[in-house]
């Protein structure tokens, strides 16, 4: 390995009296494709160095070779855990460059699916955090409920995990199938039940392992570039859905949960509260969903993208996601920069939080950030 890293040590020095090197990852269950090199002194972490790159696929460059409809499918893969949210960021960038009018019903469908995807992503986080803390019940309960959401995704988009660019430039690939509304309502009822179960576990495992662990102050959160639930758990009520509304978010009534503590437990409370808010959003959107059916999608974006540049931001489950797209009037983008929340959360924030932590707290800190190597490496 010739990669130059700051804490690279030789085998001899691993056993030196001043510490011990521990490689956390990259095949750790639940993390996958990402590692952190820890230097320990006794039970305490004295240095941490993130080791990204295992999932680098060069999306930004791949997109320069492809048309927007092909890129819509590619955008699924930006983060396996919340592919619909990434679909939406990409679609909006193309929409704005092309000055496309999105039908009202399609904008509602986009928001409903983006919020369900957020719920689904938060469920995975809950499951993986539980697993990391040795709380297998939480893991199994969460993944059981997640499947209900995936069933709905399959029913609407055709894909359980990857929707194949369902939220595409120009709207959505196809209208809701017959009976979708009823099925979503049933799903939300299940989600409410799930939240009650999560709450019942709270005072035991998760609180015991997460309270007071991995505290991130607001100043540090801003300096390290934290966004989304991580930033809100440190006390700043910032959310792109409210601060720079896109789609129909300015017409909806929802709250931005915040906490002051900044610890791993605060981050876990925030995500559960966000599931509640997402349920509220989906209910409102379903109530107001315009009745007029959508015409079948014509992939008219096969033509040229007008010359111009946009920077589009969205609030996804993990934080701020953005796409900078530059077009020179060809049928594919000249440059497509993808900004994901995890490049920040998994390198500066994680390294900062791990230094000084007890080695037993590493999993709690690591998964309280709800990391995703796919969106960090791109």
């Amino acid at each position: 390995m010739s990669k130059a890293t700051g804490t690279e040590t030789t085998r001899e020095s691993q056993h030196a009296a001043d510490g011990f090197d521990l490689y956390f990852g990259p095949v750790h269950p639940g993390s996958g494709n990402f590692g952190v090199k820890l230097r320990l002194e006794g039970e305490r972490v004295i240095a941490a160095r993130a080791d990204p790159g295992y999932l680098h696929r060069g999306f930004e460059k791949l997109m320069e070779y492809r048309t927007p409809m092909q890129n819509a499918v590619l955008s699924d893969r930006l983060c396996i855990l919340e592919s619909l949210n990434w679909n939406l960021v990409h679609a909006e960038a193309v929409d704005r460059l092309c000055g496309m009018e999105i039908p009202e019903r399609a904008r509602y469908i986009r928001v409903i699916l983006a919020e369900l995807s957020r719920i689904q992503s938060h469920i995975i986080w809950y499951g993986v955090l539980s697993k990391a803390l040795g709380f297998d019940t939480g893991f199994k309960v969460a993944f059981g409920y997640r499947d209900y959401v995936l069933d709905l995704f399959e029913f609407v988009t055709g894909g359980r995990v990857y929707p194949a660019g369902y939220l595409c430039p120009g709207g959505v690939r196809r209208d809701f199938p017959q009976g979708a509304k009823k099925r979503i309502e049933d799903l939300l009822a299940k989600m409410v039940k799930m939240l009650r179960e999560f709450e019942a576990y709270d005072s035991k495992t998760i609180a015991a392992r997460c309270r007071g662990v991995g505290v991130l102050s607001l100043d540090e959160a801003l300096r390290l570039g934290a966004t989304g639930p991580v930033l809100r758990a440190s006390g700043l009520a910032a959310d792109v859905r409210r601060d720079a509304p896109y789609e129909i978010y300015d017409e909806l009534d929802f709250e931005i949960p915040t906490r002051e503590e900044g610890d791993a437990f605060a981050r876990s409370i925030i995500r559960r509260r966000e599931i509640e808010e997402s349920i509220r959003i989906v209910r409102q959107a379903l109530d107001r969903l315009p009745a007029e059916p959508l015409p079948p999608v014509k992939p008219k974006v096969a033509g040229r993208i007008p010359e111009g540049e946009v920077y589009v931001r969205n609030e996804i489950a993990r934080g701020e996601a953005a796409v900078y797209m530059r077009s020179v009037g060809e049928d594919r983008p000249y440059r497509c920069k993808i900004r994901g929340p995890d490049l920040l959360h998994m390198i500066p924030v994680l390294e900062h939080l791990l230094v000084g932590a007890e080695v037993a707290d590493v999993p709690a800190i690591y998964w309280s950030l709800n990391i995703c190597p796919a969106d960090m490496d791109r």
């Binding site: 390290l224 946009v310 920077y311 931001r313 900078y324 900004r339």
Partner: protein, 172 residues
């Protein structure tokens, strides 16, 4: 914050940028603000933006223009209080691609983007304490996201055999 208060703060911030930068930013249809500055003064303007209240460095990006021998740097900045997205753009010479780092202004949140751009485009950010490669291992070729680096040709020549009948289609 009500919608009217928010709009008031936004207008005030846009006015403040206009006066400190000495030029009005272009406001796009989606409400984002864009401003181009000369390369020599980039550091000065970024510091002005930081002082004006752009406390979040959302991203830094590079667009490669090989025919004009230029890299275009774009700094996407957000103000949590003013709720304005400002993009500061600047063109630098591609042959001497060095600029001052934004780490003194935004800390590690800018540093990590610079680290990525250094690896993928070969832009040097002087003053950034950590420009170690992020993604690539044992890579000694040119920075791979530059426009004049042909990925497809590289993959074909590195990983496929022209005289292997099963891999012929990659060479057609």
């Amino acid at each position: 914050m009500t919608a009217i208060e928010s709009e008031g703060r936004r207008a005030e911030l846009l006015k403040r940028i206009g006066s400190s930068f000495g030029t009005e930013p272009r406001i796009a249809e989606d409400g984002t603000a864009w401003i181009s500055v000369p390369a020599g003064d980039l550091g000065k303007y970024l510091a002005l933006a930081r002082d004006d209240g752009f406390d979040h460095c959302s991203a830094i990006s590079v667009t490669d223009w090989p025919e004009e021998e230029a890299f275009e740097l774009t700094y996407h900045l957000w103000s949590y209080a003013g709720r304005v997205l400002l993009t500061v753009k600047s063109r630098i010479d591609r042959r001497k691609a060095t600029v001052d780092s934004a780490v003194p202004l935004w800390g590690p949140s800018a540093g990590i983007h610079e680290r990525e751009l250094h690896e993928l485009f070969g832009v040097r950010f002087s003053g950034n304490p950590d420009l170690a490669p992020l993604f690539l291992e044992s890579w000694d070729g040119p920075p791979p996201f530059r426009k004049d680096f042909d990925w497809r040709a590289y993959v074909r020549e590195t990983f496929y055999e022209e005289d292997d009948p099963r891999e012929q289609s990659y060479w057609d």
